[in-house]
């Protein structure tokens, strides 16, 4: 056996080991991702499909497979309460997202002015996010209760004519949900924006200042466009909070007065689980999904496409 022989054998052995490692390297990520992918496919998309199938059946208390076509959707759109719930979602979701974005951005910009005790302030604003929505709901229910909370307090200060009875007013109750939800989430949006602001190079500000741009103009023309990805994430997060809002409604208004503050999620829960109308409830769940897709797909599409080009 010549030295070259053993050398080449050793190198070929090493090559074999390397190709094994190479295969492993290629396969491992897929192997690791596969279980969660399978779980997601089954539990998310599988159940979406099942819900869709159920929405085409006459299921009542338990799932049954007597197909009735689109009858459940017809019943859904003939249902007064569904219209209230859908309108409420538009009002609540729209206001909630808009106010959170504006307030969060404003707070972030003010906090970004290198003020003292920034860490403490940031924690204070961020803290509501640490509470569960149930707690938020209960606290605001007490605050907004006319005979216990803010109205009673201000009246006891001597302003006898002060009225703040939105919680018990069917026309205004939906806005109390906005108040509580904004209180909870705007600090979080602030943190997102703050992180975005910190990522902007200081030299941009200096360059703009050299060019004689005023501070508001700098923010409007330079900083905001830079924050676009942050706005994107914030809208995504807020939109899903708005659409799945259930616990807040349950704790704050219980859907009342009457069903004035019903949202599609509470509608779906009530009909599917407590009223034994699984078919109708599934139809409403599918409509929620369609609503989400109708808003998110165009937004995702435009955002992601532009980012690829830019």
């Amino acid at each position: 056996m010549t030295p070259t022989d053993s050398l080449s054998r050793a190198s070929s052995r090493r090559a074999g080991r390397r190709s094994l490692a190479g295969t492993l390297e290629r396969v491992l990520p897929r192997l690791v991702v596969a279980p969660s992918l399978a779980v997601a496919l089954f539990f998310v998309y599988g159940y979406m499909l099942w819900t869709f199938i159920l929405s085409l059946t006459g299921s009542r208390m338990l799932p049954q497979y007597n197909f009735v076509g689109l009858e459940q959707y017809a019943r859904l759109f003939a249902n007064e309460r569904w219209h209230v719930a859908a309108t409420n979602l538009v009002v609540f979701g729209g206001l909630f997202i808009a106010i959170c974005l504006v307030l969060g951005l404003a707070l972030a910009i003010f906090l970004d002015q290198r003020i003292r005790q920034e860490g403490a302030l940031r924690t204070i604003y961020l803290y509501p996010m640490a509470l569960s929505l149930i707690v938020t709901g209960v606290v605001w229910r007490w605050l907004l209760n006319p005979s216990l909370g803010i109205e009673a307090l201000v009246q006891s200060w001597g302003f006898e004519n002060f009225r703040f009875d939105w919680l018990v007013d069917p026309d205004m109750a939906i806005y109390t949900l906005v108040i509580a939800a904004v209180w909870q989430a705007s600090g979080f949006v602030m943190a997102l924006f703050l992180a975005g602001l910190r990522g902007i190079d200081d030299s941009l500000f200096k360059a703009a200042a050299l060019d004689g741009a005023s501070l508001p103009r700098v923010y409007w023309r330079i900083v905001l466009p830079c924050l676009r990805p942050v706005v994107f994430s914030a809208v995504m997060i807020l939109a899903h909070i708005a659409i799945k809002s259930f616990d807040l409604v349950m704790a704050l208004t219980g859907g009342g007065p009457g069903y004035a503050t019903d949202l599609p999620a509470t509608f779906m829960y009530a009909h599917t689980f407590t009223r034994g109308q699984i078919g109708l409830g599934s139809a409403s769940a599918i409509m929620m999904l369609c609503g989400v897709l109708a808003i998110l797909i165009p937004y995702l599409y435009s955002e992601l496409r532009e980012r690829k080009h830019g």
Binding site: R60, M61, L62, P63, R75, A78, N79, E80, R81, R141, N145, P146, S147, D165, L167, V168, P170, A173, T253, G254, G255, G256, P257, G258, Y259, A260, A270, H271, F273, T274, R275, G276, Q277
Partner: protein, 417 residues
């Protein structure tokens, strides 16, 4: 020595027999608040004295709504508990889907038909066979009142008609109290409405509208009149009713902030907990115009189909225990209801319970016994929900005319049915 030996052998044999028939049964219930939980625990101890094991499956909240949700998911997964607290027409629905077992054996042995009112035991039978066991009878059409507040308002007896009620309400309001305590939750709105409907329309009309769901009755002038009376009650309440729990409303009566409340007799538990004595510190009388009527809410335990002989025995033993005289007495005293067994004496019950039994007997004799819609005894959950929606929306919408509400009621019931 020999007798002792036989005794020991006998005991061993008995133990062996119980062993053979002993089983663990899972019991789903929503008896989670103070007195109820104590009663459930008592039942558990008695069942375990018979050698069985009670696997507790308590689901709190929503007057049983949460428990029903859990039950459905367990049933879908093919693993329902052996025993579940279900009530009213829901028992039939479960029975028709083939989920329930048959406990005729114990019913025959203990002769249930001899002491259960047939109007109520009908709920527990599927195709003529007992599949469930009733526990108690709650009366819904009660008017609870604080006599001190009434006295301060210059009223010496509780109103017997709605006209009297509104006249009294004005006096109470002038004296600076809230005439009627209420919580603005759909089921509470529906509770008050059904009591008004019973009074305004009478028992036969109530049954036609809320049991048979006759569209003509639902849109009739009587219904419109009941709706108008109901809406007028809004003026007798304080403005902040939205979302208030029933027991908070009761505490307004207890603390003397409000004069009266319309609520089922579980409200008695709140008065008792506040250390008050019936007919002295608080009054319980039939709601206006419903003196000889009784709208009932009966809790039942349904027995699910099980193959194991031991479990079947345990189900029957539990059913027997629930209807045993001493459990009926202890439990119903804690719960505020009256025993479902007509042969249990009410001697050591309070005045309200005694008057409830009298009202039950009178109503039974005169055909004034009606199932409560608000408490799931009259119609399926989907129809009940549809009625709740219309009632609560009408009550909270100052601009909706009663005629329109009646139309909506009929169409919502049709759509849900």
């Amino acid at each position: 020595m020999k007798p002792l030996y036989t005794l020991a052998a006998g005991a061993a044999l008995a133990a062996a027999v119980t062993q053979a028939n002993a089983a663990e049964i899972e019991v789903l219930h929503w008896w989670t608040s103070g007195g109820e939980a104590k009663a459930a625990n008592l039942l558990k101890q008695k069942l375990e004295a018979k050698g069985h094991t009670w696997k507790d499956f308590a689901v709190a909240g929503g007057g049983g709504d949460s428990a029903m949700t859990v039950l459905k998911s367990r049933a879908i997964s093919g693993n329902p508990p052996a025993v579940a607290q279900i009530k009213g027409p829901l028992i039939q629905e479960w029975g028709e889907m083939g989920f329930l077992g048959n406990i005729d054996k114990v019913a025959r042995e203990e002769n249930w038909d001899s002491f259960l009112p047939p109007e109520l035991s009908a709920y527990d039978k599927v195709d003529g066979h007992y599949a469930a066991v009733p526990v108690n009878i709650h009366r819904i059409n009660w008017l609870w009142a604080n006599p001190e507040v009434l006295e301060k308002s210059g009223i010496d007896s509780l109103p017997k008609t709605w006209d009297e009620f509104f006249a009294d309400a004005k006096k109470i309001r002038d004296a600076g109290f809230v005439p009627l305590a209420h919580g603005g939750q759909p089921w509470q709105d529906a509770t008050v409405f059904e009591v008004v409907l019973m009074g305004v329309g009478g028992a036969d009309f109530y049954r036609k509208a809320f049991v048979d769901l006759d569209p003509e009755a639902l849109t009739s002038d009587t219904m419109v009149k009941a709706l108008k009376t109901f809406k007028k009650l809004r003026g007798a309440m304080d403005p902040d009713i939205a979302g208030r729990d029933w027991n908070i409303a009761t505490s307004m009566v207890i603390s003397g902030k409000a004069a009266m409340q319309i609520m089922g007799d579980w409200a008695k538990g709140e008065f008792t907990a506040a250390g008050m004595t019936p007919s002295e510190d608080y009054l319980c009388e039939a709601a206006p115009m419903t003196e000889h009527m009784f709208s009932y809410n009966v809790d039942s335990f349904a027995m699910f189909k099980v193959d194991d002989k031991g479990k079947q025995q345990a189900q029957m033993d539990l059913a027997g225990l629930i209807l045993s005289k001493d459990f009926q007495t202890t439990f119903n005293k804690a719960k505020g209801s009256i025993p479902v067994r007509m042969d249990v004496p009410l001697d050591d019950f309070d005045a309200c319970a005694k008057s409830s039994r009298e009202a039950f007997d009178a109503a039974q004799a005169q055909g004034g016994l009606v199932p409560s819609l608000a408490h799931g005894m009259a119609v399926s959950a989907s129809v009940q929900g549809a009625v709740f929606d219309v009632i609560t929306n009408f009550f909270n919408d100052p601009d909706m005319p009663a005629e329109k509400a009646a139309e909506r009621l009929a169409s919502a019931v049709r759509a849900a049915g």
